[in-house]
């Protein structure tokens, strides 16, 4: 059963988890995603809630549905690239906001980030 945050609709949290799995490569581009019931059992939620999350991901073009074969992660590079960008900018936005509150300039922020990236990859 997945841990859900209180007060946010569960279908939105399922959408986030699926997007995270796609970006992490757990669900690869063009591969099949688990059926509604299977994911509902894994998450411990109502199948209609998973259905709703899938429907929204389809309307965003991230999932594609094939009537006979099931649901797949899109293999369109532009859509997946966009998804990576939105997921990462969410983290970055929070970080930038925090650093600006500390009075850092844009250059200082960029410098701090690239320094840390180098540090981590050592």
């Amino acid at each position: 059963m997945w841990p859900f945050k209180e007060g946010t609709p569960i279908y939105l949290q399922i959408i986030e988890e699926i997007k995270t799995r796609i970006v992490r490569g757990e669900y690869e581009a063009g591969s099949q995603v688990p059926p509604v019931r299977e994911l509902a059992i894994e998450a411990g939620v109502n199948p209609n809630t998973v259905q709703r999350a899938f429907a929204q991901l389809e309307s965003e073009g991230i999932l594609k549905s094939d009537r006979t074969r099931g649901r797949f992660v899109t293999d369109e590079k532009s859509v997946l690239g966009e998804l990576r960008k939105t997921m990462s900018s969410r983290f970055v936005t929070g970080m930038i906001k925090g650093m600006k509150e500390l009075g850092m300039s844009d250059d200082e922020i960029i410098e701090a980030v690239s320094r840390q990236v180098k540090e981590e990859s050592k």
């Binding site: 059963m1 859900f4 209180e6 007060g7 946010t8 609709p9 569960i10 279908y11 019931r37 509902a40 059992i41 998450a43 411990g44 939620v45 109502n46 199948p47 209609n48 809630t49 709703r52």
Partner: protein, 231 residues
């Protein structure tokens, strides 16, 4: 089309009004929580739906019919207490259910039992409370019913048994059927529910989608009820 309907449903015990003029309409394909504190009227409603109690006034309809012989064919009922003969073992219980209910799906029951590690020759009287609850639920959910009434299916079981029970309910989801779960343990079941009906002192306070409650209140269904209804 609604498969479960109450019209001005009222049940009085002497001067005490257990169910007070309830109007309700629930559609198929949904898992619905009948939520409320102890003594709010949940079990009384479910007993009336199963023909075990007669309304003082008003009506209760299952798939358009009054509770009786015909509705028992399509209603699977899990009472809030132990109700199976203690002297039977699992194998006998399966046969017992297959004899009683045309819609009992033996394969489905066997499959669910296989995932639990106890033998079919085990007698009910030797089982723990958690095991009994699981057996009762498996027998109930193995029917291909139109309406499932589950009265307090998770009360008094440990967290592992609770997860098993909730998974079993999810796994048996049928878009053609209604599952109505009564409980006062809101936080344990809320992620499984489409809609919630909250009752207090025999009256419906709210009938709404669980996701809408989370979206509009910014709280869990449990948190919302604790705050708004102080119970």
């Amino acid at each position: 089309m609604s498969v479960f309907e109450c019209r001005a449903l009222t049940k009085k015990y002497g001067s005490c009004c257990a169910v007070d003029g309830i109007d309700l309409s629930v559609e198929k394909g949904r898992i619905v929580g009948l939520l409320g504190p102890n003594g709010s009227g949940k079990t009384t409603i479910i007993k009336m739906a199963n023909g075990l109690l007669q309304p003082t006034s008003g009506e209760i309809l299952i798939d358009g019919m009054k509770p009786g012989k015909e509705t028992k064919k399509c209603v699977a009922y899990l009472p809030d207490r132990e109700f199976l003969p203690e002297y039977m073992n699992v194998k006998q219980l399966l046969r017992f259910y297959a004899d009683f209910f045309e819609d009992f799906d033996m394969d489905r029951a066997e499959e669910m039992l296989e995932n639990l590690d106890f033998s079919k020759s085990m007698y009910l009287k030797k089982m723990s409370k958690g095991m009994k609850e699981k057996i009762q639920l498996i027998l109930t959910m193995s029917r291909r019913a139109k309406v499932y009434f589950l009265d307090e299916p998770i009360a008094g079981v440990d967290p592992a048994a609770r997860d098993y029970i909730l998974r079993t309910i999810i796994n048996n989801y049928d878009p053609e059927a209604l599952v109505l779960i009564s409980t006062h343990l809101i936080s344990d079941v809320e992620s499984v529910l489409d809609d919630v009906i909250f009752i207090q002192e025999g009256k419906i306070l709210l009938h709404k989608s669980a996701e809408e409650i989370r979206e509009e209140s910014g709280k869990s269904v449990d948190g919302y009820f604790r705050e708004v209804f102080r119970c």
